[in-house]
Amino acid sequence: MAVTHTLIQTVTVTASGGAANIEFTSIPQTYKDLLFVVSGRATTDNPTLYTYFNNDTTASNYVFKAINGDGASASASGTTQAWFMRVTPSSATASSFSNGVMYIPNYTGSTIKSVGVNSVTENNGTTGYTQWNAGLWSGTAAITSIKLDPYGTDFAQYSSASLYGIKNS
C-alpha cells in the first residue's frame, strides 16, 4: 500500500521581529492523516510550543505524556496542556533551530484526536534535548485549523513550518 506525502503548505518567518504564532487554516479534508514538520526558535529563553486545534485554547481539552532526555538524564512529564513540542530557546546556539515532527492520524474523523510527536533541540554541542510526546485533543470535530503558538514568546526569524497531507493509497 503506497503512502503518499503531499505538501499542503509551508511557511517561513521572514520578519526580523519574528511572529507571535503560525496558524494553518482551511486545511483540506481530503487526506487520511496529517504530518507537521517544524523548525523553530524562540525569541526568549522559553522552549515551549503549544499546538492548538480548531482554535480551541482550553488547556483541559489537551493532555500529553512525555519522555524527556538531555544527554545526562531522562525524565517523564505530562499534564493537561497543549505543550506537544519544544523549540530552541534564545539562549541556545545562535542560528540553531529545533526539529519537530507531529503525526496526526484520522484528522477528519469524529473521534478524539491523538498525536505522536518527536522534537529535539541542541545547545552548543554540549547539551541536546529530546522530547517524545503522546498527546490527545478531546475535540471530536474534524481538524480544520492548527495553530503553532510559542507559549508567551515569539517564533524567531527563519523559523518554519510545513504541513503535509498523507493518503494511504
Partner: protein, 74 residues
C-alpha cells in the same frame, strides 16, 4: 507591533496580521505564567539535588564506599 502568520491552505496565501489587544494581553499572561512555572521547576530541581547530596554524604559517613553509594542510587 507583534504579528502572527495565517496560512490559508485553500488559497495558499499567507497573511501577516497584527495581534489584537486581547491576544497581546494573553501572550503577556502566558509569559508571566511560564516564568513562575520555570522558577518553581528550578527550585524543585535545586531542592532535589541538595537532598541527594545530603543523602550521599550521610551514606558515606556510615561507611559506604563511593561504588556502593552509586549502586544504591542507580
Amino acid at each position: 507591533m507583534a504579528t502572527k502568520l495565517v496560512v490559508d491552505c485553500s488559497t495558499g496565501v499567507t497573511t501577516e496580521i497584527e495581534l489584537t489587544a486581547e491576544e497581546i494581553t494573553q501572550r503577556e499572561a502566558d509569559a508571566a505564567a511560564y516564568a513562575v512555572a520555570e522558577a518553581e521547576r528550578e527550585a524543585e530541581a535545586t531542592a532535589k539535588a541538595e537532598a541527594k547530596a545530603s543523602a550521599v554524604a550521610k551514606l558515606a559517613a556510615l561507611g559506604l564506599t563511593e561504588g556502593e553509594v552509586a549502586a544504591l542510587l542507580a
